[in-house]
Symmetry: C2
Subunit: 408 residues, 2 copies
């Protein structure tokens, strides 16, 4: 979306561990007007510490970096070493202002229309709850997580590493719903989900609506979720009902989902047609470019991040394979010259979850460049560098995600 | 403890799903005086809805039944269907008043003495954090969970099913600590842990101190934990440091642990010598009776609990094997005449964790007795009835744990 494209443009600040926090620049006055219509006004740097917007007031402010009223990142130091991210520390990224709290007043009454099946039907959450249930742990990650590391100043929120978390989703398998309704229509190639946000007047709906198509192969794992971390899904995170596509980038997990269609083609909404497309720097987005669907293998260190005492230290981090189980994580203390395998910490919650890792290291005084590199069971491994691209999507290079620590 | 024995005496209320809530009777005036010294004053029935005590004020009041300032049970309807229990819904059971909040002001400075090893030493949590780390999901359950179902009116808190939860613990494996200190002394048969509570004046310390011995076989899995659910361990639940013995009843997981000794014999503290012993009704506790160590296989339904609409329903519950992986859970809608296998919900967090289960059922109007029966991989299965015992410990009979629902 153009509005978002000019929202926040980051400067490259070499060596800065969390560049997003210091690189907030505001776009042109014209862009600001559109932005204002959408309620996406970015907060000025001078306003820190910023308060949380009302719809996210329950979150742990101290764990978050507030980029704007619709974009809040988990502090790298608050990611922790758990197999699940507590809800109040999970990042927030809304493409449109959240609907009013009233939509979660009577959760079971929320309606979702299912189309492109043999027997199209409008179902309430109450109906869905009788059709089936599954619980899946999955990493939720914004396509632009790591954007702050792109030196060309990719536009959009300057996420460092904290636009990601691992949470537990509970809902009905999409497959159960579709089976109940007679199966998908012939020729179905995509699952297209539409969010229930109210669209602002004065803008072409196609340019602002949240409607995403994912390939039909996602049906084996997708669910319509009404709970997150064993609690009713908060409005902040898409409640009362969210399309969850485990292993896919955040944008595909459509919030307040009100329509799910099995379609031959992808939606022509801007967020799909030109948004969330990988292309060379300077290029415009287009439907023939790769869309941000399955996540790639990725990891980063979460502690220590700056200084630590000499002697024995525990290096912590998180790693995930998107849709593929992890094989291992290697950690280097010398910027990638030598590597040592870390150990996974805690139970394995499945291929879509992340795994905390830990490595003990005896450190003498000095400066260390700590980097981590995950490898999945199919042999995919994080690259050293970036795949340079206009919007700074899908960054999983291990070099940029490292930290420089001083041992004293 | 005698004080506790007269704290709350339950009447048997046949057919009452949560008898504990209505059967709070207060003991004699003499007992009350001792109880008052300990700060364990039970709250009178008339005070409901009770407020939470200060040290637990952060908990979700609506999810809890407050039996006393030191005993709070999770509502059966608030147990949920998650693989982990959110911390704010977890039950609380303190044997002594909690220490002041000041003990968690500087967590890493907390000291624990390790004795009965080749090189006894006092270690801070800071020291422990460098020795090793593990994360384990484990059911925490009070020995008296289910006490309310004993018809003889077993003394103690009248727990129904909610003195249990499944949480994630992070800390150092006890084995790593002991290895670092040269290994256990010869002849070690028990691990004896002492809590850091301040003991009240005017009472023989042995009669009130929290000091528990577990067999040395527990060393393979025990940990000294400083985190619960990826957050610093709350004071309410034993922070800054707790001995966690996965698969063992709650009392063995000593809070505010300040001393861990490898010993030939068990402690002579009353909580071990005569407390938490399985014996016939009317008998006094004694060291030759079975101690409440490893938990037995158990399950219960969590939804629906009272009324539900006819048609398709999802029956939910939780099940665990203590120290043994689960094989299956069977559910009966006719009080145990016929059974059908339920399905586990969500990832398996290991042998000490619980597993939520679900079973779809098409229900026509009428009354149903819904019971569940778990079986572990060693073939242990829940019995139908109770093992009658003086204090109402270790109840895992499936009959008492069922619910009667009306389908309309």
């Amino acid at each position: 979306m153009k509005q978002e494209a000019t929202l926040q443009r980051g400067r490259n600040v070499p060596g800065l561990e969390n560049p997003g926090r210091r690189s907030l620049l505001v776009g042109s006055a014209g862009a600001m007007a559109a932005v204002s219509l959408l309620g996406l006004t970015p907060l000025a740097k001078a306003e820190e510490p910023k308060t949380l917007p009302d719809y996210a007031a329950w979150k742990d402010r101290s764990a978050l970096i507030v980029h704007s009223a619709n974009t809040m990142e988990t502090q790298r130091g608050a990611i922790g070493n758990g197999v699940l991210t507590p809800s109040d520390r999970l990042f927030v990224r809304n493409n449109l202002p959240a609907p009013p709290e009233s939509i979660v007043a009577d959760r079971d009454a929320w309606e979702v229309r299912i189309e492109g099946v043999k027997n199209p039907k409008t179902l309430t959450i109450g109906d869905l709850k009788k059709m089936g249930v599954t619980t899946v742990a999955s990493v939720l990650q914004c396509s632009g997580n790591g954007r702050a590391f792109f030196p060309h100043g990719a536009s959009g929120t300057q996420w460092s590493v904290g636009a990601a978390g691992c949470v537990m989703w509970t809902g009905v398998p999409l497959k159960d719903v579709v089976d109940t309704l007679g199966g998908p229509a012939e020729g179905t190639r995509y699952i297209t989900s539409t969010g229930g946000e109210e669209l602002p007047d004065g803008l072409d709906p196609k340019t602002v609506m949240v409607e995403r198509s994912v390939p039909v192969r996602a049906m084996d794992h997708a669910l319509l979720a009404w709970e997150m971390n064993d609690e009713p899904l908060p409005l902040t995170h898409g409640g009362p009902l969210r399309m969850v596509v485990p292993g896919y980038y955040g944008v595909n997990n459509v919030k307040y989902v009100k329509n799910v269609a099995f379609t031959e083609g992808q939606t022509t909404a801007k967020i799909q047609a030109s948004g969330y497309r990988i292309r060379d720097i300077g290029k415009k987005g287009a439907p023939d470019q790769p869309s941000m669907w399955e996540m790639n293998v990725k990891s980063w260190v979460t502690a220590p991040l700056t200084n630590t005492a000499s002697g024995r230290n525990m290096i912590y981090g998180v790693a995930f394979g998107g849709t593929v189980d992890l094989e291992k994580v290697d950690v280097s203390l010398d910027g990638g010259k030598t590597w040592k395998q870390a150990r996974f910490l805690g139970p394995d919650l499945g291929p879509n979850a992340w795994r905390p890792f830990v490595m003990a290291a005896d450190l003498s005084p000095g400066e260390y460049r700590v980097v981590s590199k995950a490898t999945d069971v199919k042999g995919n491994s994080q690259p050293e560098g970036r795949t340079e691209n206009e919007r700074g999507y899908g960054h999983n290079g291990w070099n940029d995600h490292g930290v420089t620590i001083t041992v004293g």
